[in-house]
Symmetry: C2
Subunit: 471 residues, 2 copies
């Protein structure tokens, strides 16, 4: 709870209309996609770094949490105010400040929606590749905080690879500029990349300088159908071995195909699994690559192979792909959505292992995702009213994580740890690496006021609930 | 000075043959390319992380510096033992542990020479792009510690972009693994990129997992000649604006051309400036891009344009390019070698500004470097026996840094801060960002035993000499 003194000070800093304590409004800032709501005590709408510096200084002296928040589309609880406090919401900081077509750089405020930036730079023949499935809602600030990925990561990398520099307010209220506007720059420690993916726990991003690319001349979208998921997984590995680097290489299993077709109704053919593949670049290179992809798929068990004929077909395919996550609730009312990654050549082993785990625990598992970079969204479906099934789902996830790590992978490719994966952190990192990270957190945020209760499990019993088992 | 107890303990940890206290051997570990030698008290040759953990724990309890060192080719003093102590030299840790052709990943020890790795992966049709000019001598460990760049950075990025994960011994002796083997991974803070470019002050790298690419099908090497440097700079900006991304776009001024031709004798034509341009990739795309580059150069003042006919011509051009730095001593016995970066479109302004600075301080300035990514090596030439000229050179450098920052650039693109640029750090970063970085250093290395006297200027008068004015 905030004292009246603090409430009045918030009004003074942000202006009456830019602070709210009303429960009906606070509810909007209590959620993300994990469906593990926690009410904040206030939400404020900053207009720039100076106001944020003031609130952080006050938070340090008065001891209340401050939680930066993008659009709340995250899958790991990163923006949930698990200990209450004041949410910083960036609705008023959504300007594209600059698109520098000579140097292929954009400068934006954190509240810009990723899709809006992409549309704006495309008008100048430029390209901002990171494309999380939430891109029409999620913001650049949130994308940076969670190091968002997406289908194009196989060729173009993740958000981290496009962040050149940041304006950041440190937890103790200092406003700093990190990084450069140029591809190269090695002056001091790389605070830019330390902030990327730190889930709003090390600083508040108030401006970002982003790298752009020339827009690819042409993109070809292809669909390959297989009898089962293992064949599709093998074809994925074969495409990579053929040294083609598609801009997208998505895999979808039959459970996901069925759910999404019922939901989105785009006329997806029936099959045991599909690959959605795109190649982009120079027109001639693209034609050659598309031919190579077709050859590899047909040589590796594809039962059908199609190239999208026009923009509408491409749009339908992507509409279906992006709707999978939401459509899965048709199968079961609850799901545990994990975003594991394994080295690409191990995807067939992963697929086999998940099939065994699904049978062992008698739970339905829907798998889809970015096969090209080894990042698979594994959705363990259950009904929380069925206690045995819920336990089976829980146990299956732990086993999937163990398998993932044994295959040389990671338990989160693009969603982050937040509250959802806190309890699995040590499985991947080991205690000594966690201690090193906690030292950095303590050095920059000695009072622990910035987005507390995230990433690192707390020693006491009073931990925030895991979001992983939420929806 | 190390006590006999410490010396005996070093022998016990590393084995008699892997420790030296002999002055003639220590001298070999006193230098880097800044020519500002400081003798260490000992050099040890570790065989793995466990030995390094032991020496770091002892360094913390006994209070002596430990300095990790690659091949000593750095331009900023990063590996110089300015406060004495024990040098860790990686001659015995130079194995390529794995080249994973399915997942395009290599795992190496830090002592592997960059060129050796490149040759090894090329045998499998793969490509490790980072190519600092020192690549035939410098090591992966040193490249990572300094975040080495090189000509190919314009298209392929710098060392940072190829480091997926590290095995690191923290300054307090804990052995941790950072990062992943996969393109995606967001579990905890990005310690991998925090280590990259931290100049051996935050941890000792004992193993690196590196990202590889498929080897480009074809490379075309071109040479464009201009009447003066400004024309070449304008053509550079025009190539970028034409949305061609060359794999290399190097600029060389007439002073550098003259010195290197006298030195390397490869038959470089006489001109006011040259661009050395490469495009690589799919054969057809490369042909189109090469044509576009030729057109842009000829439209933008090129007086001659040539395409290398065979491998020998390519080899000669690169031999010349890589010999420039050393050849400049033909002009003057001493030089201050800076590696500033400006946004690419500002290179013509930079070139004009440097010309004015050269005239104002009556010093010869030779400029060459990676114009494509805005990274220019500015060499202020002088004779240290001429006090007035030495002062002019010093003043000219400060003014070049001010100009660089005013143009939106950075004072070091690929060499790092080390001791050479310590005193200019605040010009670029500001005091608050520096304080943030020092908090991280203090959190991970509370006793300050790992590579002390680097990056951050010390408050006392007893600072290490700046290496910038050394050779």
């Amino acid at each position: 709870m905030l004292s009246n003194t603090i409430k009045n000070e918030l009004k003074r800093i942000f202006g009456d209309g830019n602070v709210s304590f009303a429960k009906e409004e606070l509810l909007c800032y209590a959620y993300d996609a994990t469906n593990t709501p926690h009410l904040p005590d206030a939400v404020v709408f900053p207009s720039g770094p100076d106001e944020i510096a003031l609130i952080l200084k006050m938070a340090n002296s008065e001891g209340f949490p401050v939680i930066p928040r993008g659009a709340g589309t995250g899958f790991s609880g990163g923006s949930i105010p698990v200990k209450g406090g004041v949410v910083l919401s960036f609705e008023r900081m959504k300007r594209i400040l600059e698109i520098d077509t000579d140097n292929l750089v954009a400068v934006v405020e954190p509240g810009v929606v990723t899709w809006d930036l992409q549309q704006a730079v495309e008008k100048s023949g430029l390209f901002y590749p990171p494309d999380p499935s939430s891109l029409k809602m999620s913001t650049i600030g949130g994308n940076i905080a969670e190091c968002a990925g997406g289908p194009r990561a196989i060729k173009y990398g993740v958000t981290r690879d496009y962040v050149l520099g940041l304006e950041v307010v440190l937890p103790t209220g200092e406003i700093i500029n990190t990084g450069v506007r140029t591809a190269k720059g090695v002056v001091g420690y790389d605070l830019t990349r330390l902030m990327v993916g730190s889930e709003g726990t090390l600083g508040v991003i108030t401006k970002a300088t982003l790298r752009l690319l020339p827009l690819p001349e042409e993109t070809v979208t292809m669909l390959a159908l297989f009898n089962d998921l293992k064949d599709a997984a093998k074809a994925t590995a074969a495409i990579i071995r053929a040294k083609v680097v598609p801009s997208t290489l998505e895999i979808v299993d039959s459970v996901s195909m069925k759910c999404v077709e019922e939901y989105a109704n785009v006329g997806l053919p029936k099959a045991g699994a599909l690959l959605l593949i795109e190649v982009d670049g120079n027109s001639e290179a693209v034609r050659k690559e598309a031919e190579a992809v077709a050859g590899v798929c047909l040589d590796n068990g594809a039962i059908d192979f199609r190239t999208a004929r026009d923009k509408n077909e491409v749009k339908d395919l992507w509409k279906a792909r992006r709707a999978i996550s939401a459509s899965l609730f048709r199968a079961k009312p609850n799901k545990i959505n994990e975003d594991i990654v394994v080295p690409r050549s191990r995807i067939p082993d992963l697929v086999e292992g998940i099939k065994d785990i699904s049978e062992k625990y008698s739970v339905l598992i829907a798998s889809f995702g970015h096969a090209g970079d080894g990042n698979i969204h594994v959705n363990v479906m259950y009904d929380k009213k069925d206690a045995a099934e819920a336990k089976g789902a829980n146990d299956a996830v732990v086993e999937i994580f163990k398998l993932t790590l044994a295959l040389g992978g990671t338990i989160s490719g693009e969603h982050g740890v937040g509250t959802a994966k806190m309890k699995y952190l040590e499985m991947e990192l080991g205690q000594q690496a966690i201690e090193g990270m906690k030292k950095i957190k303590a050095a920059l945020d000695p009072k622990g006021i910035l987005n507390p209760g995230k990433i690192f499990p707390e020693a006491s019993k009073d931990t925030a609930p895991s979001g992983a088992f939420a929806n």
